[in-house]
Point group: C2
């Protein structure tokens, strides 16, 4: 079975298109991996690249991009709306097909070691690749951003990197990790009052008592209201369960779901799981999907 | 975008495993196509092979298998429960990805011409590849089976083949065609009385006033009852619409759907369409499925 990971490196450059192009170009030269998406944001001053392909090829592409970004981006002169601590800020690996989370963890650790030793950039492992539970959460790893880390790295043992020097240069530091596929899922309600969407967001999200792998906010968006979510592990908190909970909560306000949306990419499995639930397909095997047979037998 | 068709040749041999193996072996030698399933049935005395891959490679594999089957199967000595008219009885091509129905029609016609001229076997085009509306339906083409066709082919102009000789040998005749993917979908009810399943089958199937691309029977199966269906064009009569109609009909008997099942293979798209319906994903693009990006950029 062909092994496929998704890798989503984030770079601290969202304005100079020539710099973004050189970073992306370094990744495109690696065989066995495809750049499927590049999003850059001027306000955030950040670029998010989506790669898919062979795990080793994705790691090689991320390494080369990190080297180019270290040359072209000076964190002492970087300003932007999004929290960041390095020229290459984060590199998460995501299992897609024929790859377990443990494989992604191993790829992340090997890449981290290489970035530390060959490029002299401090590396912090996070999420499923974290060396310590206190470093699982990216926000904790990146606390105070580049500026705070620069001051603390040499003096606070809690901020010692997993790989690379205990000192920071103009490329800053990089977080390398492994995580499940993230699904950005928004559900719209038939009201322009944001209060019910906000209450429903509190009901479904983990932080206030809801489902384990849901982050949620209630928002007003151009005359509509939505429950805007990140599903951080769709295998354990599936899309259909989230939607049905929202539908039930909305009904208690006399409201209905008008539509939903997926922002960006997701694995076919996430939607096939929803189809299995609603169609009551009790004994369905992934091998019954024609495309899965093809890929399995390559 | 990689072009993928499914091709499901049926052979009039379900008992002699060595013969089936030689037929399948001939197809496995062709590069660019995979044999993903082989089902043989002793009572039907028939084997159904599922190939997936490049359209031209699938046609080449089907051609070689037809040559082998003509050598090893003598229709004058074939008996079995399933209607048949040839050693290689039918060869349908099914568009799966990056291929339109018109492409499958063209592949079917080219293969039919080649079987007729190079193997001297009469070929009838059927379904979307039919040369005449009267030949769309396979049951009409195969009327009276091998034995009737043998008597009529030389005397009844209505039975003249599309390709090949107006005479039949021990390999019989072959129907070559193009059709949409067929989804075998069964829905179970919480009763052991087959009458409601039979009434619901009549409600949903095309032949008695129901949905255009549904064939259905109500059956008792091992203490359960099911509405057993073939969905002959899931793009125009989608799975979810069939299930919801059955659910509504069942409710009028005070019954509920306990589960459903897909028999055999189906394209991922058929289930993703169901997920889009139930999740109310109004603006979802196929390119948002990670695997589709990968295949598109190969």
């Amino acid at each position: 079975m062909t092994k496929i990971v998704e890798c989503v490196p984030n770079f601290s450059e969202g304005r100079r298109q020539d710099v973004i192009q050189r970073i992306v170009g370094a990744m495109e030269q690696v065989a066995g991996v495809q750049v499927v998406d590049v999003q850059s944001d001027i306000d955030h001053n950040r670029a998010v690249v989506t790669l898919v392909g062979d795990p080793q090829a994705a790691a090689e592409a991320a390494f080369r991009a990190t080297a180019v970004a270290a040359e072209l981006i000076d964190m002492d002169h970087h300003r932007g709306g999004h929290p960041r601590m390095g020229a290459t800020d984060v590199i998460p690996f995501v299992p897609v097909r024929g790859v377990r989370m443990e494989d992604c963890v191993q790829v992340a650790r090997q890449l981290g070691e290489r970035i530390g030793s060959e490029l002299g950039i401090p590396v912090y492992l996070y999420e499923d690749a974290a060396s310590d539970p206190a470093r699982r959460n990216l926000a904790d790893v990146r606390r105070g951003e580049y500026e705070a880390l620069k001051e603390e790295i040499g003096t606070n043992p809690e901020r010692a990197p997993d790989f690379g020097p205990v000192a920071i240069g103009t490329a800053g530091a990089t977080a390398v990790g492994a995580r499940p596929p993230l699904v950005a899922f928004n559900v719209y309600l038939n009201t322009d009052d944001p209060a019910p969407a906000q209450a429903i967001a509190r009901a479904v999200r983990h932080s206030s008592g809801g489902l384990r792998f849901v982050k949620a906010l209630g928002l007003a968006v151009e005359g509509e209201t939505q429950v805007s979510m990140n599903l951080t592990d769709y295998r354990r908190t599936p899309i259909h369960r989230v939607l049905e909970m929202i539908r039930s909560e909305a009904a208690s306000y006399g409201l209905a779901v008008t539509r939903s949306e997926i922002v960006g990419l997701l694995p076919a499995e996430a939607l096939i799981d929803a189809a299995r639930f609603y169609l009551q397909l009790r004994d369905f095997a992934p091998e019954q999907v024609l495309e899965n047979r093809l890929i399995a037998e390559e």
